[in-house]
Amino acid sequence: MVTFIGRIIIGTVREVINICSLLFDVLYWIFVAPFKRKVCRRESIFHQMIFIGLRSVFIVFFVSLFTGVVLAMQTAYQLEKMGAVLYVASLVAISLCRELSPVFTALVVAGRAGSAIAAELGTMKVSEQIEALETMAINPIRFLAVPRFIALFFMLPCLTVLGNFSGILGGFIVGTSSLHINSDLYMQTTFKYLELKDIYTGLTKSFVFAIIIALIGCYEGLNTRGGAEGVGRATTRSVVISFILIILADCVLTAIFYFSKM
């Protein structure tokens, strides 16, 4: 039993070290290598941005829209008792921007793009394509991981902003139709209490989440073993681990923002 637990702990520690070293490799290829050698190709970053970003627009829009709707109804349920239904507007906006939109968008993108990264790189690994890159003296991290990193790093915050807007729209629909709040008043209340820091703490979170999704997707993909089954395992693991780390990071960041009064 003790040896069993010990083995799990050692395995986890080794995994964490490997993941960190992948992160440092990626950072090296992004920040240090361009001054010495070739950078990663712009067209492949662009390609990844389209894949990760544009194709997630639809699902992010709907998830956030309905989150806004539900949030408006749930807060109205509470606020009606105090006769403060108007504040639904600001509550919806603030909790979306600070918390729900960054997290939900990250979870959606982890499920969609993170798993796709793991599956694609995993397939490349088991069919010797990664090895082929190495024999051609093309570094797989520069060639495959870096474009995905950069694409996610820029696209996830953009998607989060989209999520903010569509969530507020969801709240607006509920507020103006079933709660009978005047539409001008709803928008005024929304922006009266929503501060810039609410937006940028949310965006800070989404930058961190982007790193998590890209890192785990690439790590699981590049370390895939054992044929098609291994690819399936890598894909599932990438989603599960990203989800856990996103929630964990959210918790830590929220605590930091809260205690530093941000």
Binding site: T123, S127, E128, Q129, T135, M136, A137, I138
Partner: protein, 270 residues
């Protein structure tokens, strides 16, 4: 560069190379020399460690012990940059081609050129066309690897391997999984490349039909050890029972698949 006793230039040299995976010895104390310009065939049963030997030669994996030197440079001690420099001078054809799925045929072949040269787009396009016609794949530039057959993928893989005009090309089972005709064409292609372009070829195969057609010299390996090295004729006439069994593909002989798994044979009542 070093020379052997007959004055031939040695381009790849393995000395006492050993490699284990998860505690299992896969390559056991292998020493080999490959001469400049020759076609060197490594033959052996599946699982005998042929692909692993090839990986050791091109530096994808590092040996646990021993020295692998290419053109006199010990590649086990090179930095990443140094190893990449050496790698640019060789090409590799993988067993399942290992073309990048997301790139078209043309992009696959032009990839090494785009990554490692500063050539103009148009010149690269011309080189790619040249390489593709060398392997008889002109006209398939716009296809994706998934849209062409296995034999065609291998030929595209070969075009990619020779894109940078390498000195050495490694082939991992170039004819396995191909029909006899395409296999024969591939053999001829390998032969032509080495005679016309003066490329040193290292070919891993267990296909006896192609071995004697393409080889200048042959090494037979079994369970990670080199059993014999010699010219085609020497190997063909060798009295070594392992080699005779392998050449004739007879089930009875010293190469025994059941020794390690005696339990299975007993269980079957054999």
């Amino acid at each position: 560069m070093s020379h052997n006793e007959h004055g031939k230039e040695i381009i790849i040299s393995l000395k006492n190379v050993g490699k284990s995976f998860e505690g299992r010895r896969i390559i056991n104390d292998v020493s080999l020399d490959v001469y400049c310009g020759e076609t060197f065939v490594i033959m052996g049963c599946s699982g005998s460690g042929k692909s692993t030997l090839l990986r050791l030669m091109n530096g994808i994996i590092k040996p646990d012990k021993g020295v692998v030197s290419i053109k006199g440079k010990d590649i086990t001690r090179l930095s990443v940059e140094g190893l990449d420099e050496v790698r640019k001078s060789f090409g590799m054809l993988f067993q399942y081609s290992a073309l990048l799925d997301s790139l078209r045929v043309e992009e696959n072949v032009s990839l090494p050129l785009k990554e490692h040269t500063k050539l103009d787009e148009n010149i690269i396009r011309i080189i790619v066309k040249m390489k593709l016609s060398l392997v008889g794949m002109r006209g398939f530039e716009e296809y994706y690897p998934a849209q062409i057959s296995g034999g065609m993928r291998k030929r595209v893989g070969l075009a990619r391997a020779i894109a940078l005009d390498p000195d050495i090309v490694f082939y991992d089972e170039p004819t396995s999984g191909l029909d006899p005709v395409v296999g024969g064409v591939t053999d001829k292609l390998i032969r032509d490349l080495s005679t016309k372009l003066l490329i040193t070829s290292v070919v891993v195969t267990h296909n006896m039909q192609s071995v004697f057609k393409i080889a200048d010299r042959i090494a037979m390996i079994h369970k990670g050890e080199v059993i014999e090295v010699g010219t085609s004729d020497q190997i063909r006439n060798s009295q070594n029972p392992y080699i005779q069994q392998f050449i004739h593909g007879s089930p009875a002989g010293p190469i025994d698949f059941f020794t390690e798994d005696a339990g299975v044979t007993e269980g079957l009542g054999l």
